[in-house]
Symmetry: C2
Subunit: 197 residues, 2 copies
Amino acid sequence: MAAVEIERLARLLQRLPGLGPRSARRAVLALLEKREVLLEPLLEALAACAREVRRCGLCRNLDVRDPCSVCADPGRDAGLLCVVETVEDLWALERAGIWKGRYFVLGGTLSALDAVGPEDLGIDLLMRRVAEEGVREVVLALGATVEGQTTAHYLAERLRDRGVTVTRLAHGVPVGGELHYLDEGTLEAALRARQPL
Amino acid sequence: MAAVEIERLARLLQRLPGLGPRSARRAVLALLEKREVLLEPLLEALAACAREVRRCGLCRNLDVRDPCSVCADPGRDAGLLCVVETVEDLWALERAGIWKGRYFVLGGTLSALDAVGPEDLGIDLLMRRVAEEGVREVVLALGATVEGQTTAHYLAERLRDRGVTVTRLAHGVPVGGELHYLDEGTLEAALRARQPL
């Protein structure tokens, strides 16, 4: 239909999460209609990210520097290490502004089906950090999914006898959540972990 | 939270139609995780579009050449001109492969509220094409919205006494559509325009 160049851009945008064929076409048009305010700045921002963003050699976060700004921050408690599945999870915790320790990003979960083993998740690097940086507590902030919990159990096993406390996030009712929308597993976990008022 | 460069890319992606803050962040991560297969090709495709795509001087379509491939196609009937609101509408008709004439893209609809007048929609250019290219029929393929129909009436008025037939798309039941999902206006139009079997 349209020029090859336009088709190619639409096909690539369609590979971004959240964009289907129709919204990719609309995005292409928005870009072409708003060159100065959208296409050109996006081109620059993409080029800057391609040039400058790298993976942190300590925690596998994405940043323009290595070690990343979290690992390099002297105000962070090096004794506390929070293990997350993805950089997105790290960002979510940082937005909440409640974690004063450091992170380790697995980049996924163990999966026999997808052939993801401990080496793909950088678990040796994680073990080295725990051993060398005087980590006191490792929080396994993994998803409450089968894959997340399998990975958490594997990590807990590997971290046993290393002299560190291993914890996981609490399960319960999401703040602002209504009970009748919750599944039975969450309700059971919330009831079992009930707190005195 | 993340590096300024990453934040900037997420903010720009968020301005594309169909991407909210959350999906823009996920898109940034997908780009950064898949550099060779996604980020680099997208960068090239965007640069190619920025460099090469222009607006057709005849019909206001977007293409890498001017006149665009539709206007330049000698196999198209120059006597048939289809007026559409957007390039997206033109693409939709081209995908259907049912129009053998040429197009004219208004780029919007008349709107007193948004201060969009005839000059913004290139209506003088349209009139010139109709006068100079021996156009026999102008199909007003505008949206069946208040704005689309207002614009269609304005154009029909301007095209009167120019010796061209002015038509509009039929209203009716969309193919594959179920009656009970349709609004009353559509049902009424479909009933009034009923066809013998």
